[in-house]
Amino acid sequence: MVMLALEGVTKVYQVGAFGRRKLTAVSEVSFDVGEGEVIALIGESGSGKSTIGRMVLRLASPSGGRILFGGKDITGIREHDYRREVQGVFQDPFSSFNPIFRADRVLHMIREGFFPRLNNAQWMSKVEAALESVSLDPAQVLGRYPHQLSGGQMQRMLIARALLLDIRLLVADELISMLDASTRIDVLNLLADLKQRGLGILFITHDLSLGHYLSDRTVILRRGEVVETGPTTEVFAAPSHAYTRLMLESVPRLHQKWESK
């Protein structure tokens, strides 16, 4: 069942003084995300992945096309209501936390915005449940400062933050690219668990192997345009677009050396 659908979404940035120059970051992008489905949005730097993510999160508005959520144009949904169901986690765990506050502030912000009426005990039990669902020990992470947490812990906490709401779609923008190889896989596995619980995920990455590991379907983006899309296994097994092939050839693999050009 289609949950989120992008229809010919375009984003043009005005750059330079008085916006005299135009930069098309995203151009006529269409794809959809189903309930409990992981869509990998893969592309190189500057290809417009984050811009799409931000538009889906309504942190930026499209200059053209529509984004539908549950069949409704998202601009028609109250922002507050929308955010209950769609949340995001970003690339850089270190800059996702305001370094001067305790890390759990990100959780309490949700309370202010969405659950002002819960009393402390109710709230705490909710928080603990969310933390446990991302396999964090509440006692270990609550009340700590961001620099006292590991990258993986931080990202988990951010996911827990999203889970405090009854979200249906999570936009994960490069959420593991800053993590160490060993921690990265744990977060990735966590996302896979969430998917199993019915959460739709828009998984944004430049790392083909990560996209491949997790996603059901893949969208390959290049300079703001979709060059290839399809079920992940198919895209990776038989890339139809030259660009996809080039990327795949360039990926360094263990146990298999690059073929010399």
């Binding site: 330079g16 003084a17 005299r20 120059r21």
Partner: protein, 330 residues
Amino acid sequence: MHRYFGRKTLIYLLTFIVAVTLNWLIPRFMPGDPVLRMLTRTSVSNPEAIAPMREYYERVFGLDVPLWQQYVNYWVQLLKGNMGVSVWLFPTPVTEVITRAVPYTLALLIPAILLSWIAGNKVGALAARRKWLDNTVLPVGYVLTATPYMWLGILLAWSLGIVGGIFPVAGGYSFELRPEWSLAFVGNLFSHWFLPFLSLFLVAFGGWAIGMRNLIIYELEADYANYLETLGAPRSLIRRYAFRNALLPQLTGLALQLGVLVAGALVTEIVFAYPGLGYLILSAIQNQDFFLLQGTFLFVVIGVLLANFVIDVIYVIVDPRVRVGMQGAS
């Protein structure tokens, strides 16, 4: 490039318009009647004579037409280079009063600005290199920048002028001389110029030295410095680069500081009774000569704008980053 200068010009133009309007506006909504002031100040002894004179001079100063027309006239006249007639020094045109004073102010300001900038930067750069120099330059620099211009002026006038008797403490040149191109006269000009110059120079110098020292230290932490270091480049090369790069923010700093320096020059002139713009401004205030005050204000604004513009041009010449940014490349 065009866009960059277009934008800058727009800002300067806007500033100019704001300044002119402010200038025009303020005296018209403030207490005090300039004409009356002029008449009463010059002790016209007969009360009955005042009313007709007042009427007459209102016309002379163009104060008898509606406000909007005064505003338009003001611009028209201004663009013709006419800033009106001084009330205090009636009937001398304001421009004439100003042109007489300007050479003195420029003679103070330009060398003080340039020399302090150059010397401050050099010494600051040296200080960043040597611990002992740093330990002297830094405190001295802080004391100097923190010194109010007039106080340093007062101290210099008192110590080197009045007590020491080495330099004269007032005026542009001695009263027994007439301007001419002789060694004696130029020497005399110089000796009168020296102390006001020195006080301006010293205060500004402190600021630049500290600025440069701190900037160099930042620059030496920059990636490129680190890289050069890694490649075994000699300290002197790295310092040369750091110095060069630090000069750029210092140049911006110069543009930002212009207003302050001009202000410093004004008060210094007052301390040393140096016959420049500062002294004119003070007199214009004391004598409520709005026209002269407006004129000097505009003059200062135009001067600062022009200097800013020159700095912009220099900046573009020396900093490739601005140029490239302007072309919209990158």
